[in-house]
């Protein structure tokens, strides 16, 4: 039964999470509040691990969330749920692709969806930030990290490793 729920929830995510893998974050946040599968705090761990392991971010997050909910089969079911809407839609779309591309109504819809998705990601990450940043020390580290990310634009893995070292050294 949990597999059916997992499949359905991730099917919805695959259908409605438009844009990059980060667009799945607000949906996962909702799942964390709705089901006892994983808590909001583990979402940051999921993002960290999904960023620093091979594979597209969105797929990794789905596998991780599914695994936390119902073990190995849960991870597989969640990933399949995420993938099926893409498969169906693209197969349908591939035939009419060129007609659709120039359709300005389609473009207009995406013109509306994208800023809404930015708002959703902001809302979900605000909660994650509140959990991670709880005093002056963590706020300072986070700001420093942001400056480093923003100006140097290195691989995320580097910052995640630096975060791990800082966490152990400063006993956060």
């Amino acid at each position: 039964m949990i597999y059916l729920i997992l499949f359905w929830e991730f099917f919805k995510i695959g259908l409605l999470a438009v844009g990059g893998g980060l667009a799945t974050l607000p949906f996962l946040f909702e799942l964390a509040e709705k089901y006892p599968w994983f808590d909001v705090k583990t979402l940051t761990d999921m993002v960290a691990i999904s960023e620093s392991t091979p594979g597209p971010l969105g797929v990794n997050m789905a596998t991780y969330a599914g695994f936390s909910a119902a073990g190995i089969s849960g991870g597989i079911v969640a990933t399949l749920g995420l993938v099926v809407p893409s498969l169906l839609i693209i197969i349908l779309l591939a035939k009419v692709m060129n007609r659709c591309r120039e359709n300005c109504r389609v473009q207009r819809v995406f013109y509306f969806i994208r800023p809404a998705v930015v708002a959703l990601i902001l809302g979900a990450s605000w909660h994650l930030a509140k959990l991670a940043v709880f005093d002056a020390k963590t706020a300072l580290i986070c700001l420093g990290m942001f400056a480093a990310v923003h100006y140097f634009k290195r691989s995320p893995i580097l910052y995640i490793c630096a975060g791990a070292v800082l966490g152990i050294v400063l006993k956060l």
Partner: protein, 178 residues
């Protein structure tokens, strides 16, 4: 049969060596799919990306499905898509299984407190980038503010917000036609 295996294996390799989002996949696709296999041209790839971005679902999956479909139909699309997700499923399952045992260790717990700060910084940077690209005028800024309000104040689910944005985009635009 051979083409399906080739599609699966090629996208398996791409999935294994992609770190991060769908854009990190682009150089690998150019090398494997365009240069080595000749399954798509550089321009095709750009088209798949722009469509993959504006169709529902994860960009990486959408692009894999496109290439697989044009190469070998529905089964080709399925083979390519399964190829790209399989490394994730294997690697993440292994890591999650190991990690859940070590989470009680204080060093691991400290490490993850530090990592969560890095993650917040990384997300903030990605959000800034997304905001700059997608909030470009008064209309998109208004959509952004309304969506944020619906989510934070009215407590709407992400799905409801996305559906509302789609509905708003479908309302015929009058001013431009006059």
């Amino acid at each position: 049969m051979k083409i399906y295996l080739q599609l699966f294996w090629t996208f398996f390799k791409i999935g294994l060596f992609t770190f991060g989002g769908g854009y990190a996949m682009l150089p690998l696709l150019q090398d494997e799919v365009v240069r080595k296999k000749g399954w798509a041209s550089e321009n095709d790839l750009m088209d798949y990306y722009s469509l993959g971005q504006c169709t529902p679902g994860i960009i990486a999956i959408n692009v894999a499905t496109f290439i697989g479909y044009y190469r070998a139909g529905k089964s080709g699309a399925t083979a390519a898509t399964l190829g790209i997700v399989t490394p994730s499923v294997i690697v993440i399952t292994l890591i999650a299984a190991v990690l859940q045992k070590f989470m009680a260790n204080p060093y691991v717990a400290h490490a993850f407190e530090g990592i969560s700060l890095a993650v917040v910084a990384l997300i903030a940077d990605m959000l800034l980038d997304l905001g700059r690209k997608n909030i470009r005028d008064w209309l998109t800024a208004a959509v952004f503010v309304i969506a944020l309000g619906l989510m934070v104040i009215a407590g709407w689910s992400p799905a409801a917000v996305v559906l509302a944005a789609i509905a708003a985009g479908l309302i015929p635009q009058r001013e431009k036609k006059q």
